[in-house]
């Protein structure tokens, strides 16, 4: 496809000091995983607020690793879903230049999320059972998520493959180059069938990530517990995804010599503005509608702490509303810094909604509380660092980013030898 010729590898030195720092963080993550595997999810010191690997307990069986590593990381990764939907589902080819960067970030986000889930499993060695059809329980929302996320992660890496193959085409090794030349056209031909999966699958599991809490009627605060959880999670994953695209485009432009297509991002960013409006309308109408039910009012009263729950609920609405208000302004969309601010706000709003649903709104019964331990937070940060590490490596080696200036990579398909300053 002609449109794909715009992407170039960044080239340049790989082992920069920043990259070494990322590698060090990644090593910390590996160490934390080893501690978890040997001593369990609480770690060698049991459930201790300072020393535990995680503060998860029988009351809070899921800690921050679910809403952060899985649901927020894949929400950011949903940039691939959001831009893919617009570019292919709605045939807006103008957004093609953004696709590869999104898909790369998406592949990393989902790989990390999936990895985090597996490490969080208490009996990970049994995971194979979810591939035995006759044992499966299709009423389990989590099963749908598990299978769907695994499939989609695979699909995302297949979507990354053309970038790698394009690089291999220019390989010095003639047999590698020949193989790449053979595979590429076939893969391109199959792409529409793969891209359809790449839009269908995330719409299924991103909604289910909210649907997980529909079963917890009495434990999820009524501001958050609703049958609309799947719809709200689906819409807000798209707004997060669009926000993440703006943020990632800006970060890559700040980090490397690369042009940013501000008019393109400005045009794209009107979509999350409307989506946010849709989200807010459903969210608010739903709360009003449900609170007419005396049982819901009773649950609200029983949970208590009106300032705590009400505060988080209002904060959430405000952040979404602020993001939408910014995005509806043409001046904001066309200004790089302001649009970046709005993009960050979109990501934050989606993340807040996810944290609220999974942890703030969740109260198993009186007496239980949860706050992540330092190591638990470090686990998430270092896991994120692995994502950045691999992303940086890939955009330097393979044609993924658009608008890369020729001085960075004189050869359209570049390489490690590309001139760096």
């Amino acid at each position: 496809m002609a449109a794909h010729a715009h992407e170039r590898p960044l080239g340049g030195q790989i082992l920069t000091s920043g990259f070494k720092f990322l590698l060090a963080l990644s090593a910390v993550w590996v160490a934390l995983v080893l501690v978890r595997l040997v001593w369990g999810l609480n770690g060698p010191f049991g459930n201790d607020p300072l020393l535990s690997v995680s503060a998860q307990s029988d009351g809070y069986a899921w800690g921050i690793w679910k809403p952060l590593n899985v649901v927020t990381f894949t929400g950011i990764a949903a940039g691939a879903f959001a831009v893919g939907l617009v570019t292919y589902g709605f045939n807006k080819g103008e957004y093609h230049p953004l696709i590869r960067s999104c898909v790369m970030a998406g592949a990393m986000g989902y790989t990390l999320g999936g990895t985090s889930i597996m490490i969080d499993l208490g009996r990970y060695w049994n995971l194979w059972v979810i591939f035995v059809p006759q044992w499966l329980n299709w009423t389990s929302v989590l099963l749908e998520i598990a299978l769907c996320v695994l499939a989609y992660t695979l699909v995302l890496w297949v979507e990354v493959a053309p970038s790698i193959l394009e690089k291999l085409e220019t390989s010095a090794n003639p047999s590698t180059a020949a193989k790449a030349k053979k595979i590429l056209p076939a893969l391109r031909k199959a792409m529409p069938f793969i891209i359809s999966l790449a839009i269908l699958l995330p719409s299924m599991h991103q909604s289910s990530l909210g649907g997980l809490f529909m079963v917890a009627h009495t434990k999820t605060h009524p501001y958050w517990h609703t049958g609309w959880l799947p719809a709200l999670f689906l819409i807000s994953c798209l707004t997060m995804g669009f926000g993440a695209v703006v943020v990632i485009e800006n970060l890559t432009t700040m980090a490397w010599k690369k042009k940013l297509d501000q008019p393109l991002l400005a045009r794209l960013s009107i979509i999350p503005a409307w989506l946010t409006v849709a989200y807010l309308v459903i969210r608010i109408a739903d709360v009003f509608w449900r609170f007419r039910d005396p049982m819901v009012q009773a649950r609200h009263a029983a949970m208590g702490k009106p300032l705590f729950y009400g505060g988080f609920f209002l904060l959430e609405l405000l952040v979404f509303a602020a993001a939408a208000a910014m995005l509806f302004s043409k001046g904001v969309r066309e200004n790089r810094g302001k649009l970046l601010g709005a993009g960050l706000l979109l990501v934050f709003a989606g993340a807040l909604y996810r944290f609220d649903t999974y942890l703030v709104a969740y109260q198993p019964s009186p007496g239980w509380s949860y706050f992540p331990t330092p190591l638990e937070i470090l686990f998430s940060i270092t896991l994120g660092a692995i994502g950045v590490t691999v992303y940086v490596l890939f955009v330097k080696l393979f044609p993924i980013l658009s608008g890369v200036e020729a001085t960075n990579a004189p050869d359209p398909v570049g390489g490690k030898s590309a001139a760096s300053h």
């Binding site: 208490g122 059972v129 389990s140 009627h217």
Partner: protein, 302 residues
Amino acid sequence: MTITRRNVLKGLAAAGAAAGAAAIAEPAQASEGKYHQAPDDVGMLFDSTLCVGCRACQSACKVRNNLPTDSRSTQGGVYDAPLDLNGSTKNIIKLAQDGSAITYMKMQCMHCIDSACISVCMAGALHKVQGGITAYNAATCVGCRYCQIGCPFNVPKFEWSKSLPVVEDPKIVKCELCRHDQRGPACTEVCPRAAVIYGKKADLLAEAKRRVKLNPGKYFQDRVYGETDGGGTNVLYLSPKDVSFAALGLPTLPDEPLAKLSESVQHTTYKWGLAPVAIYAALTVVQLRARKNEDHGQKEEK
């Protein structure tokens, strides 16, 4: 119907709307393969007005289920004194307070007729067995702990202190009505006041109702908890008149099973896999047409 971009949009919107609508609409029927109460189902009846808090049931449970102690040392002595259900405790007696009124509460798995834990379990590690017992099979458990999120009574517990496969083999721990033992639940066998009794669910419900009828005003709300709560449970409760079920730790539940909402949304959205297949087909057609137009345009330019 020709497949256009607009139709794809419609399809996506319809799927979203279906999910939402299902949240409001009453599902026509319980899904096939769901558990329904059988005449032979067993359960327990706990009458809180009879319990004296001796905890004989607690130690008998540990013995019959071969559970380790949860020891605590205080004032120079060491006691097996769990504070709540946990990885080594499947049954516990707690003091319940409602204002100035106090009573004892016995907590263990409620063996819901239509258990939320079973509905959320990915590969049937939690499932129904003969007698309507909600049973656990570690062989298909991946340790996701969604059952802990789903259970409205916070019953399933995890062995957090264990980690390694085979050697430690951490599991979900919960009462299975001593189904491994011919004699039945140890707790009901040792209770000196017959505060907790074991039998067929139908008989226990009749007995509970008889007690309520014989002693009007003795029991809270003159009703049996578990008859309809959360779709009904095989373990039934009677509470003294001045101690609410909520004070016992039994949540106020709708009369339908808790998983009904998630199951109906899931079933409506994915009915016969129709919506996903339709969306997939529409997306693919849109792209193939776009690609064809693109090729066509290029040829014309030449």
